[in-house]
Amino acid sequence: MRPSLQAVALWGKKAPPHSITAIMITDDQQMIVTGSQEGQLCLWNLSPELKISAKELLFGHSASVTCLARARDFSKQPYVVSAYYHCSFRMTGEGWLLCCGEYQDVLIIDAKTLAVVHTFTSSQSPDWVTCMCIVHSMRIQEDSLLVVSVAGELKVWDLSSSINSIQEKQDVYEKESKFLESLNCQTIRFCTYTERLLLVVFSKCWKNSYPALSCAFVMGYINERKEPFYKVLFSGEVSGRITLWHIPDVPVSKFDGSPREIPITTTWTLQDNFDKHHTTSQSIIDHFSGFKDGAGTAVVTSSEYVPSLDKLICGCDDGTIIITQALNAAKAGLLEGDSLLKDSSPHKVLKGHHQSVTSLLYPHGLSSKLDQSWMVSGDQDSCVIWWDIFTEEILHKFFLEAGPVTSLLMSPEKFRVRGDQIICCVCSDHSVGLLHLEGKRCLLRARKHLFPVRMIKWHPIENFLIVGCADDSVYIWEIETGTLERHETGERARIILNCCDDSQLLKPESVLPVASETHKHKSVEQRSSSSYQLGPIPCPGLQVESSCKAADAKSFPRPFNVLPVKTKWSHVGFHILLFDLENLVELLLPTPLSGGDSSNSSYGSEILRRAKSTVEKKTITLKKNKTACGPLSTEAQAKPVSESLAQGDNTNKFSEENDGIKRQKKVKSSKKMHPKLSIKVDASLTIDTAKLFLSCLLPWGVDKELDHLCIKHLNILKLQGPVSLGLVSDEDHISLMLPGWDLCNTEMKRDDSRVNLFSGKVLDLSNKYIATLSNQLVIPRGLENNCYSLQESNTIVYLLSRLFLVNKLVNMPLELACGTDSSFKMESVHNKAKSPASDILNISSFYGYLRNGKNGSHVPEADLSLFKLISCWRDQSVQVTEAIQAVLLAEVQQHMKTLRKTPINSQPVSMAKNGNCEMMQNLPKMEWAEEIELQCIRSTLPLQTPVSPVNHDSNSNSANFQDAEDMPDRCVLEESESP
């Protein structure tokens, strides 16, 4: 999991196409899983009344999904294993997947690591295997693998008795083989009741007792004899339709004795979900196009997000281009009752194209030297327009006289024609055009390609354009003369493409159905064969590390991003909003301290960044997060004001003094550094992003009063309907909920007032959380600030950081989590630096700080129990989204409770804007968290800080991380000093 990235999908009115190629029902008959030719998996909820409703869409595969298999037993989590290019079957017990496909014989794959363990090999005529099944015989107590090859040969391997030889990597040959007189075996099943019969279904001779089924594409049959379960026959079609038949236990026959046709019990498609829950599926610009001409709304055919301006550019099928503020558009689409927002949200409409706009390019996003106002768009009619988006004027119109423009690319910085970078247009008739913008001239029209263009390379020295096509051939064009220099195929073509790797590589997508999903796919093969360094990568948050080298402007994460997604083989597109929780917290953190002073905010995030980068080089993501939290945590040791105020102050003073001394010692050892980078982030934009994010996560309508308080005190808006949340994994695979997901929670009574409650479980979890929370003395928090808006943003920061923490805890890798648990138990891991437990405590104490707003030497014991609670949730396979929502609900409730009781209690606290002080403290009780150090970016009590705290925080920070070995010593030292 990429813990800090949260996605919200803005679906349009049209469901993405989902041509079912594989279908499966889980054993508990509560879920249907389908795989599609487009490469997505869909999870469908199956209610006890056999009603189907789509719930979630998983984006991972880049090729067609050919098979699904259940994975169970080896973990409590409900995994679904899907395979592409091969079939996989679960083998009981050992956690292996048996796979067959376009290769000889059967592969044995480790179910967890997906590494190939071994193969079952045939001694007789090895061939591809088309289908197989595992047979468990009670009589001989042996599991066997039955297999039918392409050529129609039936083979048998012993499974249980060959486990040892597989582990020792000895060759395992088939026990028996028999030639069947038929080709194209579809499936093979063993009769478990008689243990004698084997049913083999071939495509040509298929005996079928249910006449209604002949056109089904993939189907399955589940026969459970236990009572609550039904005998269900199900099929999925290419059109994306799932159909279920409930087979009666006793066959119903007509009067003449022939079996009566069994009626369809239920049938459903993705589009049904979209139609039924129309209100929830708001496309990002619907409201603009809506009031533009009242009648049919324009369909977005291409879009591009410009992070540096937070602008979303959408090209529509009627030829207009709409430019909006992305965050506003998202808010208008999602939030309720903000008609003001809708009307006033600034947007521009560019009119110039007469046909649907098929591609967009924002050159400045690729090369910061280019003018910020430029935008290039191409349409169905192969007309390319060069715009000034600020003045909304057309700078030039190019007519390519080719097919629809499928993608627009920018030449790399080092490739220039007459001093300027040039635009490359790839059209769907496979032609390529080069445009010189400033010269208002078309340089080259390359039209000889027989197959779709897959790859564009630039040869700066020879002034060549190298075009790689889908049939692996290569065309080399001389740009000056516009002539075809060479055409190569096969091995030579491959060499040519490989040898100019130094020149920048831009790969346009093959045809107009751009599967944006492919760019999330990490496999090497995919990377080389499909597009995805396609010029303007719309999603730096996802892409920045891996591919987007050209865009230096995007080289740091942004809290908010819009990712336009187009689906394969269709024009249906939608947008995904990406919130980077970690980044959001980082950016917001200093803001409440300085009252939205943006210079300060960038300063604060700079500190974090620097601290992070010192360690980042050698650590993995999780550690990176740790370091990111490290410095934050240091300011923690938050002391709940639960202790009596006076006492609190005393201890505070004491510890501060101690720290002062310690800090002085430390400062000597640390080098001085100056922050150089400054990231300009619009503070109000950040806080708006945070608000939108909270709006999307909150379960509205659970408590009316709470809603009201949230709207009033957090200044956030209610949702129009449930949002489709999504998760992003480390490998950039995305899962997205579908419109109507809220109907899938069968345990929850449908209650129209409740909007966006992820599941009934959330309320339970939330109550548990509150219970744990109230075990400690909870006191008003976040109230000590004198400024109202400050308090609001403080609360938001606090909530976000809580969510970040929960997210991280739930997503923690299993082995790390185990470590945590054990260290919780052991309670002392004295000399083990960087144990996960201390990592967590680091985070926790930081949040403790945030909650209490004051620093002190108190240990957040309660937090510890909360962590245990949350870690527990993970083991109970609570979904991340559920956990997050539960915690958010609980925290908001707690927070608002205090607001209900007390009116805003302004308590003047003198705030030193640059009062940075750093301190080191130990945790007297929690010995195991020896690594906790404290550093305070701000002290709320500057008077008690003996040393003028100006400019040493960032460097001492990095120093702290570098000398981690010293930690134990230091701890001992500190322990002696502690009160």
């Binding site: 005529s125 090895p126 061939d127 392409v150 129609g152 495509s203 290419v238 197959f451 049939d471 024009h571």
Partner: protein, 283 residues
Amino acid sequence: MAAVLASQRAQEEEFRWLLHDEVHAVLRQLQDILKEASLRFTLPGSGTEGPTKQENFILGSCGTDQVKGVLTLQGDALSQADVNLKMPRNNQLLHFAFREDKQWKLQQIQDARNHVSQAMYLLTNRDNSYQFKTGAEVLKLMDAVMLQLTRARNRLTTPATLTLPEIAASGLTRMFAPALPSDLLVNVYINLNKLCLTVYQLHALQPNSTKNFRPAGGAVLHSPGAMFEWGSQRLEVSHVHKVECVIPWLNDALVYFTVSLQLCQQLKDKISVFSSYWSYRPF
């Protein structure tokens, strides 16, 4: 306005014709071509009477005649092999042949053949009786067929890149009787339309050798000087002999692949012209 409507109607009419008639015509043509291609692979079990026929290929190189091989191909398997190797130093003649009881499956041919039959299977499911409703449906079918055809072609055009230990461990070395001498490695593969045989002569590197030992990576054809570790020994390739022979029917098959791939692409292009229609309404 009327003119626009009329032209729109004409376009729709044209698209309907494309979807209902033209697509099937192209699919039939494709099927015919692929049937020809698959006949070249002489599928076993597809009704051919008796054992698959045997073909002898004499492998040689235009330069030296140090290696000569006669390979017998039976469908996708090598049933016999006779290799004569004239040792470069002493002109001693080495002869080795396959064991009688064993066959060596040429995986490339088997895979290519299977991919073709997969492509044909996809097409037979969409015969004249099937009515295409959207252009996307045709594109999907074409993409699936093209994927199989591209794989079939690539299987023949890109032989596996093996490391020397992989070649040494391969079952091919155990196919010979009498056993292959320990200083020889043999590899057989298909490259485009050619059946290729490579013989590597090896010599052991002395443990105290000053040569910098760097094991060679995977390659289709290793060059002299390539080193590897086998068992406890470090070995170096001293001579490489490559001989080859064109298999005519493979050549035909490759041509058929190319033609059918182009046909598929042309159909896709025709459909794409109407792309503004097919995605919204079914016909």
